[in-house]
Symmetry: C2
Subunit: 176 residues, 2 copies
Amino acid sequence: MEEITKSSQTIFKGKIINLRIDEVILPNGKISTREVVEHPGAVVIIPCLKDKIVVLRQYRKPVEEVLFELPAGKIEQGEDPLKSAARELFEETGYQAEKLIKLTTFYTSPGFSNEIMHLFLAQELHMEHQQLDQDEFLEVGLYSLDELISMILENKIKDAKTIVGLFWLKMFKAGE
Amino acid sequence: MEEITKSSQTIFKGKIINLRIDEVILPNGKISTREVVEHPGAVVIIPCLKDKIVVLRQYRKPVEEVLFELPAGKIEQGEDPLKSAARELFEETGYQAEKLIKLTTFYTSPGFSNEIMHLFLAQELHMEHQQLDQDEFLEVGLYSLDELISMILENKIKDAKTIVGLFWLKMFKAGE
């Protein structure tokens, strides 16, 4: 089923993503093209503060909406995902976690992007001080897991990585 | 929290995605840029055949891996998502569904793309004949929901839309 890369052309190099077009040889020998959005990979964190979870409200330009999301962010060059998770949690919420547990990894849009998302559970939080990037504006909120699961069902939470994270916690971790 | 678009520049128009760069005014009045991958939107379908679910194995060039995925595909211009779901289910698996039920919508990567995913449950299937696109190569398999949930836990299923769909079925629909 694999496709062999015949040639590859970089169209754009940006702050967060690059775009390239691959010419590929299909399993039947024919030629096609694939549009690939290169992404450095990202982390998403479920911060548990006693019986509540820390979530953010954040404006997202691509969808022109304010979304509820778990804290998340891209991996810096050469950074270990565990470090990225600790850094993003701290920058976005002000919390530092004594325990950061890797739960899984998944691809957000493998049809057109290589973005991989590393999911972490953060426990034993203590508050330091939020340190947002210069172009980041967000609100922090605390909800119970069951409230958040209801918000998924009601389509108030619309972000895939956040849905995966909260469902994962409910299915595999709740009650542990 | 909203960002006002100051200017917008299309960098690339492709088969599936377009890329544009927006210059935005931030809530604090400063200027920044946002890289936006425009996508026409997509559908993902959970096809239920008695006590089994139809899943695909498909090579994905962006991640250079064969992935387990629910049937899915992009929405054609002007197409109603319900029609897209029926069409993609038929093309990719050969099944037609008497019942197609909309479950939810979500964004796959709202940090850099506007891709919206419409999730459908397909029931009362009957086999017609698979009609793949010229550049599509995939294998069809049948698994129970519990087998698929285990495959998520074991990281054998790595695709976000598939994880969201299967968790949704397990959390909100199983046993109905």
